[in-house]
Symmetry: C2
Subunit: 345 residues, 2 copies
Amino acid sequence: MQEQEHQQWMQHALQLARHGLGLTSPNPPVGAVIVLNGEVLGEGFHEVAGEAHAERRAIADAYARGNGHLLPSATIYVTLEPCSSVGRTGACTDAIIQEKLGRVVYGSTDPDLRHQGRADALLQAQGIEVCPGVYKDACDHFLRSWFHAIQTGRPWVTAKVATTLDGRMTRRQNFWLSGVETLRHAHQLRLESDAILIGGNTLRTDNPALTIRTPLQTPSPRKQQPWRVVLTNNMLSLPPMATLFTDEHKERTLLWENVKDFRVLLNELYTRYGVVNLMLECGGRLLRRFLEEGLVNEWMQSISPMVGAGPDFLVPGDFLPQEFIFQRESLIECERDIIIRGTLG
Amino acid sequence: MQEQEHQQWMQHALQLARHGLGLTSPNPPVGAVIVLNGEVLGEGFHEVAGEAHAERRAIADAYARGNGHLLPSATIYVTLEPCSSVGRTGACTDAIIQEKLGRVVYGSTDPDLRHQGRADALLQAQGIEVCPGVYKDACDHFLRSWFHAIQTGRPWVTAKVATTLDGRMTRRQNFWLSGVETLRHAHQLRLESDAILIGGNTLRTDNPALTIRTPLQTPSPRKQQPWRVVLTNNMLSLPPMATLFTDEHKERTLLWENVKDFRVLLNELYTRYGVVNLMLECGGRLLRRFLEEGLVNEWMQSISPMVGAGPDFLVPGDFLPQEFIFQRESLIECERDIIIRGTLG
């Protein structure tokens, strides 16, 4: 019974956390809800790095609703273990202790070694009950890209590809492969990403803007356009009037020449630009390199219902050094296209 | 109200017709049910060419159930216009007239010029009410391969392909691409086909049996193994001990050398061997030729969740002379694979 109630409120907190998707990097998106006798006293989510964490926002929300006096007997549900070290905003455990909350229920354990498991002891020492690991699998899955970045120092890399049934990436006369609804899913992924990477070939051929235009959800007004990362072997070969160099977001365009070590590049994107979610919108050649290096974590492919469309292949050449097996997480029929999404093992 | 009743019984007749799928060629699979006051008096389907048609089997079934005396006021629902010319089994219109059935409701109009529309006048002249075209779209769709064969003199061609996400047809070390459940769908398509075509390369590389082993439905005891058609440029290059030449079904293997005109080949398969449904299980090169000639009508592709699996492509080479756009009819998640099926426009 309590188990069920815990799950239900943690799902609620996870829904709140989703509002932060694509906004919080390098921090994780986190949601929190404070509950007493089945009623919400206050709720919140972490929105932008440097601002209040989910727990503090839920507490502030409880005060704003006139529920501040009820906090001492209430339970706070939070998708991630509350932080216990002072960053830019003060430790969340301190806020919880200060408000004398009765109980803390959380999902994922913080992988950051400065915090990991410390919250339990700190809170329990103040007589606060702690229930860790509730709805943990769902919370961990939701935070997988952030965990990956913390643990490897590199962003979670999602390859976005659009192909025909026979694996071609282009059509005659540059007609678009994907339908309008399918493009909205691609823009949604941009909305949830911190950066989008292409190669010089794609820049020259498609002159893309790589901006968020028609996502499935209305973007938060706080969402910045993703970084637009261009890898090239020859900077001088890029057209200086390309959209990425001239549009209103041109300061969000990053250019790298002759990258030898993709791991170093990815580490720089994470540490210097706070990129936790990187989306690949490059062509087959560059994608093959990311695959060969074992750097692709997730895959989103739309397949358009046609064959014989073009001469390009997703991954030209011979066998890759290993096969990449895909764990399907979703399959959507999107008008005439299908969209398949999953993680690469 | 009557409309709804008609539809319901026609669906019932169509279900009966499905039992004949893959058995009746060169005849169409047809179902019939005789109904009085919402009760089934008798039902049947056409099972094997040369034997009784659906209408005569439904009448015989009504007699077997002791309902023969009720036929004169009953309605017969049949998925296809009753035949009006005497073949091996006598015209069905004659049987209906002889039994003095009160009403005939049918779905598709017979495309055979010997029959087309003749049934209406013949039956009405005997005072039998005729309702043509009930549930016509579904009946026409069900009979599409037979219509195609009648109209073109060639079998309906369904390409069966198994690929990776990037359109490869092979894996390292000849591991199978598809999962066990996916193979059952392929065997089901074999069950519904009259012949399966491969090229000499597939014979040499895979030494397939092309027999029906694990279909989704239990095969009728009357189902023969499909014809196994091999196209080669050099008969002498084929291994004489290949399964297709030595197994218990070897008399069902047909071999063609140096076929120049695929239309002539297909016409021969239809007129000489009664092949209405032809399944392609060939490799990319031969499939490309069938596509280029515009001879592929339907497409069934399983996509396995992996990338970088092998050096082969579904359709090697440059742009095809035209794109083939696919009308999706079904999309199935089949364990880790997906199966997409549709018709090519």
